[in-house]
């Protein structure tokens, strides 16, 4: 099914794409190790590859990061697979000898949570919001099956479903790393249990599902009103640097840009529903030229239109 002859080309394209993030593609192999980039003293990001999960990027399409305190490390997101989780742990070990105290999962998408098995294998607890854990339990078995089909058995070896070791319900300060780290939950926003993580010392904000940079944000699990107010709350924090769930680390301007996408999507689709338009032509009719160069415009944007259309239609029916 997969056109094998295209692989070298796709690999080259991927290499070129990754170049921007990593500053180089030293090996002929696609990136297997995870290289951490320092954003501030003790604050690191490991960027994922752009695009959808495939056998070249090994599904490692989400960003991860970690914060090194005086007594321990907190990992933010765990990667796509057991092997990816191991690679992230190795990246941490290259930077510090301090123990990893906890791994946070920011939201319920496979590229952020399936590396959790590797952390747990080393006795590191995986921590997530109660509703993230609930959503994971209700649907992620299917995601894992699909990932295994897409990537193959070998890259997914050892990757299993698991239950969170620690769950929480609200915003709180994280203990045990010897550095003030705030875990922020704004209610149902981009997802029911989505969190952001703020390193208070540096002002680096890990935004998880709340923000993507030059990649279409996915509204599937969202409450749009809750998301908008969460974005205002993020802006009010005055972060210095934002690590989005997908895409390059950015200035806080990324908050405005994601807001603008969501506003344009909503305005356009609400007008279509009010006019009694058909869902059949909705995705074609809801082109948003300001965002058509973004990663996943042809996939996630079209799905967003369909999801928003059906939601607004339901609003109309229930009002």
């Amino acid at each position: 099914m997969r056109p094998a002859p295209h692989r070298p080309l796709r690999r080259a394209v991927l290499c070129a794409a990754v170049l921007g993030f990593f500053g180089g593609c030293a090996t002929a192999q696609p990136v297997r190790a995870a290289s951490a980039v320092a954003l501030a003293p003790g604050v690191y990001v490991v960027h994922g590859s752009p695009g959808v999960a495939d056998e070249n990027n090994l599904g490692r399409i989400g960003n991860a990061g970690f914060i090194v305190g005086s007594s321990g490390v907190v990992a933010i997101d765990t990667g796509t697979s057991y092997a990816h989780g191991e690679a992230l742990l190795a990246a941490i070990t290259r930077v510090t000898e301090l123990p990893v105290r906890v791994a946070l999962v920011s939201h319920t998408r496979p590229e952020f949570l399936f590396g959790g098995a590797a952390f747990r294998a080393r006795g590191i607890p995986v921590r997530m919001h109660r509703r993230t854990a609930g959503l994971m339990a209700s649907r992620c078995k299917t995601c894992l099956d699909v990932l295994r089909q897409t990537l193959g058995d070998e890259p997914m070896r050892g990757t299993t479903m698991y239950s969170a070791d620690q769950v929480f319900d609200a915003t709180h300060e994280l203990d045990g790393v010897g550095r003030p780290v705030r875990v922020l939950h704004f209610g149902h926003s981009s997802g029911p249990g989505d969190i952001a993580v703020l390193d208070v010392t540096s002002g680096v904000l890990f935004a998880g599902g709340l923000l993507d940079a030059r990649r279409i944000p996915d509204i599937q699990d969202s409450d749009l009103a809750g998301w908008k107010s969460a974005l205002q709350a993020l802006r009010a924090l005055g972060p210095r640097t934002v690590v989005p769930g997908h895409g390059a680390s950015s200035s806080p301007q990324v908050i405005d840009i994601v807001e603008r996408y969501l506003a344009q999507l909503e305005t356009r689709v609400r007008a279509m529903v009010a006019a009694g338009d058909s869902l059949l032509g909705a995705a074609d009719a809801a082109e948003l030229p300001d965002f058509d160069a973004w990663d996943q415009y042809d996939t996630i944007h079209r799905r967003n239109v369909s999801i928003a259309f059906v939601r607004f239609e339901r609003d109309l029916l229930f009002k």
């Binding site: 998408r109 209700s138 869902l279 059949l280 995705a283």
Partner: protein
């Protein structure tokens, strides 16, 4: 009632065949050779031949790649040449790979004006989707399209079950006031029926609780204008959550458009929309 019974028999006969792990369909497969299609043809059409539809007679408009497998919009349009002595009495919608491949049977009354319908369906995986038109002289014409859809990781967060229950059966009939048409109302105008209903298939398991949500879905829709049949649909859980149908009717004078719906628990829901005589 005969056609309804036929749908149930066909569904029962086919459910086992479709559900048991046959290899997913491929775009390059011969649609005529599909084992599911052969069974449908034998049970639903009693072996009658389905001819390829001549150009213009029947179209099936559906995206070849579905962005949301739980909500795939599609339209079926049938039109006989002007002056034809025949008319189209039924449109069938079949989705080979679904657990119950016979998704819908649509009927059009004399007040319909156009044998067209648009709705939204669930498509479980890569599948042939077929529309078949039956004419008043008993001929069958078919078109087939291949659709790539995959639930995958896109399974949505569970909707609020209590909110859904309180809204169950709420309906909205919508006729565009400025719709195309003439002053006398002799031209068909488009109407849309939206039904608040979870349309549970009974086949979806919650992975956390290992429980199946019991089947509960809309099975019959009937729409009349001035008491005369416009549109009827015999449907099942291949239709997406909150079923939605767009169809045509000929207003001709003032009157009331009425919709009645029956679900698989034999609950009945009704909606009506009064239409003034057209002013233009």
């Amino acid at each position: 009632m005969v056609w309804r019974c036929r749908l149930l028999i066909a569904a029962a006969a086919l459910a086992a065949g479709a559900a048991v792990g046959a290899a997913p369909q491929q775009a390059t497969d011969d649609p005529q050779a599909s084992p599911i299609w052969r069974k449908v043809q034998a049970s639903l059409f009693e072996g009658r031949a389905v001819q390829p539809a001549p150009a213009g007679l029947l179209t099936l408009d559906v995206p070849s790649r579905a962005t949301d497998a739980a909500m795939v919009p599609l339209a079926i349009r049938a039109r006989l040449p002007p002056g034809s002595t025949r008319h189209v009495v039924k449109l069938y919608l079949l989705i080979d790979a679904n657990p119950s491949p016979v998704a819908a049977i649509f009927q059009f009354g004399p007040r319909s004006g156009r044998t067209e319908v648009e709705t939204r369906v669930r498509i479980d995986e890569y599948s042939f989707v077929r529309a078949i038109a039956e004419t008043s002289d008993g001929q069958l014409y078919g078109v087939v399209r291949f659709v790539k859809a995959s639930g995958g990781c896109s399974a949505p967060a569970a909707t609020d079950a209590s909110a859904a229950a309180s809204a169950l059966g709420r309906m909205q009939l919508r006729v565009d006031a400025d719709a195309d048409g003439d002053a006398a109302g002799a031209q068909p105008v488009v109407a849309q029926l939206a039904i608040s209903h979870p349309n549970h298939s009974g086949l979806a398991m919650d992975q956390a609780t290992r429980q199946f949500t019991p089947a509960h879905y809309v099975r019959k829709v009937e729409v009349t204008y001035q008491g005369e049949p416009v549109f009827a649909a015999d449907v099942d859980f291949s239709i997406s959550e909150n079923p939605n149908f767009r169809f045509y009717f000929v207003p001709r004078g003032s009157g009331e458009l009425r919709a009645s719906v029956i679900d698989s628990h034999d609950r009945r829901f009704a909606a009506a929309q009064a239409l003034p005589a057209r002013a233009r």
